[in-house]
């Protein structure tokens, strides 16, 4: 190192130190930002939702290859195009969507499009329609063979339903040539060597992968040729497609359903630029036509007499997730609207029914919907004077597909004879008698346990139901597949009342989150009589009906967390009040005045606190909603409840926390009640003396 270099080194180091000294305030000022940034980055992965690997969400099935696991509550990561995870839940059968297969108006079969790949549950097309109950059956990667196999599985539910089959012009078609998607083994069709008949092959299905992986380059080229080309592979793919659609059509004919095929376009053929890119590099004799799938499947459908809808007519690239290719939220809304229109045309007869039986059935049933079994539980104890009227009103409903379960709580009057008479007269009535009296609320619950209908409602032994009560509630639940309870106005009637009081308690819960529904219920609930509404069995079985003061309100609270309530304008019930004057509002039956707080029994003196704390407990333990929903609901419940009943809660705190003082005040209250009596006695004595 020469002299100049040494000087420059020393100057450089010294000036560097001076510069660092000057920069020191900046370093100190930036230290908090740096620390917070670093720690946030370290903590962030701990609290972020982790994507569930696809392999953990599916299970092997010896016939279908693989199915989605039931009761999933996971977050999936899209292969590309999405920078967030999408939330997926599945029902007991492994299908997405909140509806049930038996209660739906439309059943959709398909692959990842029918499964809702890439979007959260809230945006899934099957749950978007308020008017039509849609149930979608499909798993990503399914081909037409798997979809047909599932149709066979569920064909017993096809009666009077619209069956929509999504035929994607991707793997749905080219899996008829190359049944290997991401090395999974899947069922396929082939022509039997001996008879030249088509047959479905499932014997090769195992958990292990195919020994060869036909993805990427070779598959990319051949799948386009098989789907969009005019060649031997395309002939094979469309011939197999025709066989599968024909099988589906015949299946629907046998089962009383109506099949509609919907051609689902790949995003690549909706954009000319992408299409040109896909076509690049192919030989001149390998020309691809983006209209081939729609034309090919439409020709098949026309030949078989099956309605065909090309979704390419109304879907645009903006309805898809960029780069990824599945429908986004807007796309799902469009699909839901399309299915609604199809269903409306089906009901109007614009889509011809394929069987005379189905035509007759639809004509017979007003509205064209299937009739689910409705169970009505009638708990009774010594109700001989009023039971006949209640049972007549139930059996006289316009909705006929009923099951009436009477639970006699060891009555000692003529109730048993009445019930047995009705049971012998009408096969819809079942009579169960408890050997001993098990109490009121357990008997209510026993009626539910003894029933079997998809829908359930209670009918008190002394209340009367208007003839259209059940029909209107069933219709309301059918129109709103997410709803767990349908209810209507209630007429209150009592001995000696001058007029019947009508209680309307409409609550619009459409589109509200669980926490918002809880807030609305706590604020707006006027009468707990709406517990006599019509429930979905699935929701009802998750609730807990306690045996304490306020249990009815808390039961409604649990139901509200599970799903929205739907209101019908038709009267639901004529409720027989026991009191001598109209008292229709909740909590007004025991006014928590100072006098009542002194004289009422202890469980009434702490009723509001009981309801508050038990509500938290019930909301926390209910099965079904996510932990986040439950926590939000509990927070909102506590906040809203305290806001609404703060004065009563305060009173109860005072009288419960200072119980000795309360007892002393209670004693003084008793004394004070005697004073006027003493005065009157004294006055009477004084008058007597004066007279004397």
């Amino acid at each position: 190192m020469n002299h100049l270099a040494s000087v420059r080194f020393i100057i450089g180091i010294l000036s560097g130190c001076v510069g660092l000294l000057l920069a020191l305030p900046l370093c100190i000022a930036g230290l908090p930002f740096w620390l917070v940034g670093v720690l946030t980055r370290r903590l962030s992965p701990v609290f972020d939702h982790r994507p569930t690997p696809w392999g953990e969400a599916i299970q092997f099935h010896p016939v279908y290859g693989w199915t989605a696991k039931p009761h999933l509550d996971i977050r999936c990561q899209a292969v590309r195009g999405l920078d967030h995870l999408f939330h997926v839940t599945t029902d007991a059968n492994g299908w997405r969507g909140k509806g049930s297969i038996s209660m739906s108006d439309v059943l959709v079969f398909g692959d990842s499009f029918a499964w809702g790949y890439g979007i959260d549950d809230e945006e899934f097309f099957a749950d978007l329609s308020p008017r039509v109950a849609i149930k979608s059956i499909g798993v990503p990667g399914y081909n037409m063979v798997q979809e047909l196999l599932w149709m066979r599985e569920y064909s017993k539910h096809f009666q009077n339903k619209l069956i929509v089959w999504f035929v994607f012009d991707g793997n749905d078609l080219y899996d008829n040539v190359i049944p290997n998607l991401y090395h999974y083994r899947m069922p396929f069709v082939r022509k039997n060597a001996g008879s030249s008949e088509w047959e479905i092959v499932t014997s090769h299905l195992t958990k292990s992968d195919w020994p060869w992986n036909y993805e990427r380059n070779a598959r990319e080229r051949e799948k386009y040729l098989a789907t969009y080309g005019r060649n031997v592979m395309a002939d094979r793919a469309y011939a197999a497609c025709e066989y599968l659609i024909k099988e589906g059509t015949e299946l629907c004919k046998r089962s009383g359903g109506q099949l509609v095929v919907v051609g689902v376009p790949a995003i690549s053929r909706l954009t000319s630029q992408t299409w040109e890119k896909k076509s690049r590099g192919l030989a001149p004799n390998e020309r691809l036509d983006p209209q081939t799938p729609d034309d090919g499947v439409k020709a098949i459908c026309e030949k078989l007499g099956v309605p065909f809808v090309a979704a390419a007519a109304f879907l645009t690239p903006a309805d898809h997730i960029p780069l990824e290719g599945h429908w986004n939220g807007q796309g799902h809304r469009r699909i839901a609207e399309m299915i609604e229109r199809l269903h409306a045309e089906y009901l109007q007869g614009n889509i011809p029914c394929q069987t005379e039986k189905a035509t007759r059935e639809i004509g017979r049933m007003k509205g064209g919907h299937h009739a689910p079994l409705v169970s009505i539980g009638v708990p009774v104890y010594n109700g001989e004077k009023v039971l006949k009227q209640a049972l007549d009103s139930i059996l006289g409903q316009t909705y006929q597909n009923l099951e009436v379960v009477i639970c006699d709580n060891a009555s000692t009057d003529g109730t048993e004879a009445i019930c047995r008479e009705y049971a012998s007269r009408d096969t819809r009535v079942r009579y169960v008698r408890n050997p001993t009296n098990i109490g009121c609320n357990p008997n209510f619950w026993r009626t539910f346990e003894m029933s079997s209908g998809e829908l359930f409602m209670w009918g008190a032994a002394d209340d009367v139901k208007p003839s259209t009560a059940v029909a209107s509630c069933v219709d309301a639940l059918r129109k709103n597949p997410k709803a767990v309870l349908a209810y209507g106005p209630v007429f209150l009637q009592g001995p000696g009342w001058k007029e019947i009081v009508r209680v309307d308690n409409p609550m619009c819960m459409d589109g509200l989150s669980p926490a918002q529904r809880v807030r609305l219920l706590v604020r707006e609930l006027k009468t707990n009589v709406l517990e006599y509404g019509l429930y979905r069995r699935e929701a009802l079985s998750k609730g807990v009906y306690g045996d304490h003061s306020g249990c009815d309100t808390l039961f409604l609270l649990q139901m509200c967390l599970l799903g929205p309530f739907v209101y019908t304008s038709d009267p639901m019930l004529i409720y027989q009040e026991r009191g001598s004057e109209p008292k229709d509002l909740m909590y007004h039956e025991v006014p928590l005045s100072m006098r009542h707080l002194l004289t009422a029994p202890p469980h009434i003196r702490r009723k509001c606190w009981n309801v508050l704390l038990r509500g938290v407990w019930y909301l926390g333990r209910i099965q079904g909603p996510s932990m986040r929903d439950k926590t939000s609901a509990i927070a909102v419940y506590v906040k809203t409840y305290i806001g609404k009943y703060r004065s009563r809660l305060a009173k109860e705190i005072v009288f419960q926390s200072v119980d000795p003082l309360a007892k002393a005040l209670s004693f003084l209250w008793d004394i004070s009640k005697r004073i006027p009596m003493t005065a009157r006695i004294g006055k009477h004595v004084h008058r007597t003396v004066m007279k004397a």
Partner: protein
């Protein structure tokens, strides 16, 4: 990097709020504990922990503070980066230049070229034109390159610039990977 993760995620919101509440609570409790008694300190810390916990259920409650902090950190980074560049040039480089040191390459001999032949690069050396940078462009790699250049060319005076390269790397604002600060960024 002084800024927070962006776009923010649920985990980032929760992590940020816990860090802010935890650090603020720790500092304040130390101060209060020192001057008013340790029960006050412990109580204050507990209070801050209590305030921080709801974010586990409602992460969006931290969205506004997160945005404010991110904005402040971004502005501070931009300001500090300018000041550091000013210091590194006027305080470090200029005195070196005054005494005859110049950042010029050695002049080639007549007929000699400065161009060095380059072999064909391996596939994946440059994954993208922009955006994600390969490993050799990280802050540490650049500093190492500068160190190697400094030793090989005997420009030892450039050792005074190394801390500034580190500091400017820390002040990087954009979350997307970008070329980190190096000797060419400075001058």
């Amino acid at each position: 990097m002084l800024t927070l993760p962006f776009p923010r995620t649920r985990g980032a919101l929760i992590g940020f709020w816990l860090v802010i509440c935890g650090s603020a609570g720790a500092c304040l409790s130390l101060v209060l504990g020192r001057f008013m008694g340790w029960p006050y300190g412990v109580g204050t810390f507990g209070l801050f922990i209590g305030v921080s916990l709801p974010v586990l259920v409602f992460p969006r409650m931290a969205a506004f503070p997160y945005r404010v902090w991110h904005f402040a950190a971004r502005r501070f980074s931009q300001l500090a980066e300018r000041m550091l560049l000013w210091i590194s040039f006027y305080v470090v480089a200029m005195p070196v230049g005054w005494i005859g040191g110049r950042l010029v390459l050695d002049r080639p001999a007549p007929g000699e070229s400065l161009w060095a032949p380059r072999s064909t690069q391996k596939a994946g050396t440059y994954p993208l034109q922009d955006g994600v940078m390969p490993e050799r462009f990280t802050s540490q790699a650049r500093s190492l390159e500068l160190l190697v250049w400094m030793v090989r060319s005997r420009h030892y005076w450039a050792a005074g610039l190394l801390p500034f390269i580190y500091l400017i790397s820390v002040l990087q604002v954009e979350d997307r990977p970008a070329p980190t600060a190096n000797i060419y960024t400075l001058f």
